[in-house]
């Protein structure tokens, strides 16, 4: 069985790790019935697996979808000097920078945050507006004028 989606793969790996961790705890208790199971050990194991899953997903996302990384891979793939326009056209294995824009927009559409109509895009409802304001506020706090 081959799972294409990175998020699904890492989710499956994390779930398998949690199952294995649970099985190890059960096996340990069966082997040493007198041993006292520390709830802290069980919880620490779960946190450790969750942290590892987040780290793996972050690294995966960087390699698979990283903008700067993809720009480098695509200009190397072209194999000859290109203008900015040619470089933009080469993005995403030749899909082009506009395809990437539409792709990122599709993420927002799928999340129900924006609606696109007649060459324009607008926020979709009060909750989308609130979320966008929260993101802007967080960007301002995190990066100040760099945002």
């Amino acid at each position: 069985m081959r799972v294409r989606s990175g998020a699904l793969r890492i989710g499956a790996a994390a779930s398998a790790s949690l199952l294995l961790w649970s099985a190890l705890i059960v096996a340990w208790l069966a082997w040493r019935p007198e041993a006292k199971l520390l709830a802290g050990d069980a919880a620490a194991g779960v946190l450790f697996i969750a942290a590892a899953a987040l780290a793996t997903y972050s690294a995966w996302a960087l390699v698979a979808f990283g903008y700067t990384i993809s720009m480098l891979v695509d200009i190397a793939r072209v194999g000859k000097p290109v203008t900015t326009l040619g470089w933009a056209a080469a993005y995403g294995h030749g899909r082009g920078l506009r395809a990437m824009f539409e792709d990122r927009l599709r993420v927002l559409l799928a999340m129900g945050l924006v609606r696109a109509e007649g060459g324009g895009v607008s926020l979709r409802g009060a909750s989308a507006r609130m979320f966008a304001k929260f993101v802007r506020w967080m960007m301002h706090i995190a990066f100040g004028k760099k945002a």
């Binding site: 620490a44 946190l47 995966w60 390699v63 480098l72 891979v73 900015t84 326009l85 899909r95 990066f143």
Partner: protein, 174 residues
Amino acid sequence: MEFLVGIATAAIHGLVMVPLARLQWRVPMLVVQVVVALLLHATSVVVLMRLGLLGEYWWLAASFGFGFMVYLFGFSALYKSLSLRILVDVLAHDPGGAQLEGVYQRVIERSFRERSEILEQGGLVARQGDLYAATARGLALAGRIGRLRTVLGVVSGGIYFAKRAAPGGREAGR
């Protein structure tokens, strides 16, 4: 106690990074994040040991590691996510909404220019007049990334919904 201190240290890390993230660094932001995290974690270990409160080290490490990764995940999204930048740009044109072409120019093209400068400054891409090309270092790194993508089965090339975006973008004809 170890769990509380681990999560609290991760929260302190987030607060310490607020002023630090606004500065310009010669090293990547991720390196700054990790160095600060390690220093704070080491400090928490020393303080707990001095107070005689450190029982299980790995409880502290697991809780701090989890808190740090949650923070890093959110920080990375705010720092680099183009989807969130598009959302904030649309918010700036609320309630009327923004023209798609305008969003494309303000967010995507601007980021493209910024990142091409980063690649140029990093010696991975060289510019001669209006033309750009990967340097030997850039080609080597791109080759390694390409091999890693192959091993991981990544075929998206930086596109989430790769199946819906056929090769031969509209820029090609412009």
